[in-house]
Amino acid sequence: MAEWTLMDRCCDKCWHTVEYPCKHFIRCTVEGPLCHESAECRVKRKRRIEELKYGKYGIKIKVPISSCTLAAGAKEVYDAVSKEVLSSGLNADITISGCMGLCYLDPWIELSKKGLPTAIYVNVKPGDVPKILKEYLSGDLSNAFALRADPEGIYKNYKVPLLNDLTLWSNQVRFVSRGCGVLNPESIEDYIISNGFRGLDKILNMHPKNVIEFVKKSGLRGRGGAGFPTWMKWEIAQSQVSDIKYFIVNADEGDPGAFMNRLLAESDPYRVIEGMIIGAYAVGASKGYIFVRAEKPLMADRLSKAVEEIRKYGLLGRNILGSGFSFDIEVILSAGAFVCGEETALISAIEGRTRPRQRPPYPATRGLWDKPTVINNVETVAHVATVFQVGVEEFTKYGTEKSKGTKMFCVTGCVSRTGAYEVPIGMSLSKLVYDLAGGPPDGKKVKAVQIGGPSGGCVPSNLLNTPVDYESLQSAGAIMGSGGVVVIDEDSCMVDVAKFFTSFTLAESCGKCFTCRVGMKLLYDILKNITEGKGSEEDLELLNELSDVIIGSSLCALGGTAPNPIKSTLRYFRDEYVAHIKDRKCPAKVCPNLVEYWIDPAKCVGCGLCVKACPTNFITGERGKPHSIDPSKCIRCSQCFITCPQGAVIKR
């Protein structure tokens, strides 16, 4: 027989079933029993909660399983933990968790034992597992990275820092990401004992208009890019008269460099779905879709599993908890195209078509199959759930006048602590890049910060005091977008960065609008010429002019924002463009045609590998003696540079 869980009835006195639900079901799972008095039932629930928190035997080992930790080898660590527990006969629970956002520490594990502080070990290799377990269980915590919360202040003598005391944690406000890396993403019980579904519990007794009013009070703005007030979208959809309305969660997350949606949905999928149910209730939607892209299969798996679980317990489906409100969700795997993140293209994709369409009419009045449709981002709905769980004040005490609350940012590129950080809106970029993400490794200098992805722009290092909020970033020539922050150091060429984004949007242009389809190709060709040393000074004017044409005449925001990376690099890094054009030099030594490959005779050992790799046979030299490249014949394919085991091939 399956194990008894908090989601099950405690005894025959409980009459709750999915068909005839008790409306106190959610609270009862944790605080119950509520309808009858029974010490036995109460103890049963308490014991189960203890068990979930500390494990059946008082020892718990958590291994995070999410895309990022898996890429760093978490599966092997999980197997090593299982093997060690089995072979040593240890009585311990092994559970999975999601990602806490500190990806540079992956894979990590968390150990807890009654009587000892919970400790986090990082960059764990499978071979380290036996030693870590042995040490921890014997009370030696010296090799731990950090300890979890210490409410009683008794952990001081362990000489291991508290997670809360590290700048990378203390500068964060873990509001929407509170469950990430803490909860088991595949356990509905874990979510429910952590205040889960209390938002849903609250709203089912509220009038939909009051639900919208509540969201209005929070000031929550969409986290998908444009920052549109969530309540306003809901109110428009709510006021439409229609036989059916739809609620879609946009989990397409196509912006390369942003992964907070993946992280949230993989680590705390129930929160996303709770927020979605609340939204659907507010607008009167009866059918929901979660649109996930194919490149993020684990995110789709976790969301699908969570939907199934929630449905199984009657929190989705017909007549949810006897409220008369019915809603169901389908998870759709997108076959992948960046433009599908745009709402009308997303709707087309669900309908089995391609390409965006004209707005207005906006989806809130005429969306999926011409019915009123709300589309919200993953982080937006997860915020909704959390705001209803903990109250508006907890949210509005952070943020700026115009943008309340917190936002997750993914900081990648040239920083030592790559990861996802949740901070109050309005924090300065430099705090995000230096205090949280640790700045560039090995003393390099930040040249620019690219924010907002392919529709965003580059903020130069002298403007890093810009606060991250919608308006300030816009005036600096970037956008908040979904919150992807890519830090660029001196080793990157800004013209190459612009070319990279242009090639991305060019490939992703759906082709419907002439100016975007052809204009992006022209922009790309000009940039390509410049990076190959074939540019002229008029090109810079042309780039600007053409950009404005594309921005002004494209149907959807893909074309409407695609030239932004070019415009912002031209604005702040014009001298780099000029160096390519006038001096035929790439100052960062990135653009292949403008660098010379040279073999440093002091480093070359004459192994001959470069000779084999060179497709043109213009590297010569005797075996065992320094080789040399004929610069007039070199085609700059960089194969020698890649191949040389000594690092003797130098770009100059």
Binding site: A71, G257, T412, G484, V486, I642
Partner: protein
């Protein structure tokens, strides 16, 4: 994979259409066809068109618009090399070149022995561990993510997956 080969395209497509057959299911229908073959055989597209009445041109429009679909048979293992921003900055283009070189791919995406393919891919959301590549098996049953791969590691991965593929193919025969 091999048991599938024995089933005709007709049979495979009919099974899928038995589950979904509406216009708005097209994306999913094509995904299921691809998970059977690793690509979309022309025959299958024609069969879908005949059975559902969706014009073949529409089906091809969808099949070529989205990145996930392949119109040619790939190798047993497929390297998906992330070309996202973080991975671009950390040199995944070099890794991509190294993969192609190591596997001897000159034209197209697949090695001449048909064992391994190398494709460019969109961001996997593991940008913190850039550069990243994902390796999937053609039948969709296996999926491995590799983060922080340098050129040495890339070469090793190329050889490892090639020998895994050749073992699989040999044992399947």
């Amino acid at each position: 994979m091999d048991s599938v080969k024995e089933r005709s395209v007709d049979e495979v497509v009919s099974t899928i259409l038995g589950k979904y057959n509406q216009r708005h299911h097209l994306m999913r229908i094509l995904q299921e066809v691809q998970s059977n073959y690793g690509y979309l055989p022309r025959e299958a597209l024609e069969k879908i068109s005949q059975s559902t009445g969706i014009p073949l041109s529409d089906i091809i429009n969808v099949a070529t618009f989205y990145h996930q679909y392949r119109l040619e048979i790939p190798g047993y293992y497929i390297f998906l090399v992330c070309m996202g921003t973080a991975c671009h900055l950390k040199g995944n283009q070099d890794n991509y070149n190294v993969l192609r070189n190591t596997l001897g791919i000159k034209k197209g995406n697949t090695s001449s022995d048909g064992l391994v393919s190398v494709e460019k891919a969109r961001c996997f959301g593991c940008c913190s561990l850039a550069p990243v590549m994902m390796v999937v098996s053609r039948d969709g049953c296996e999926r491995y993510l590799h983060g922080n791969v340098d050129i040495k590691e890339t070469k090793k991965l190329a050889l490892t997956y090639r020998s895994m593929a050749s073992k699989k193919v040999r044992s399947g025969e």
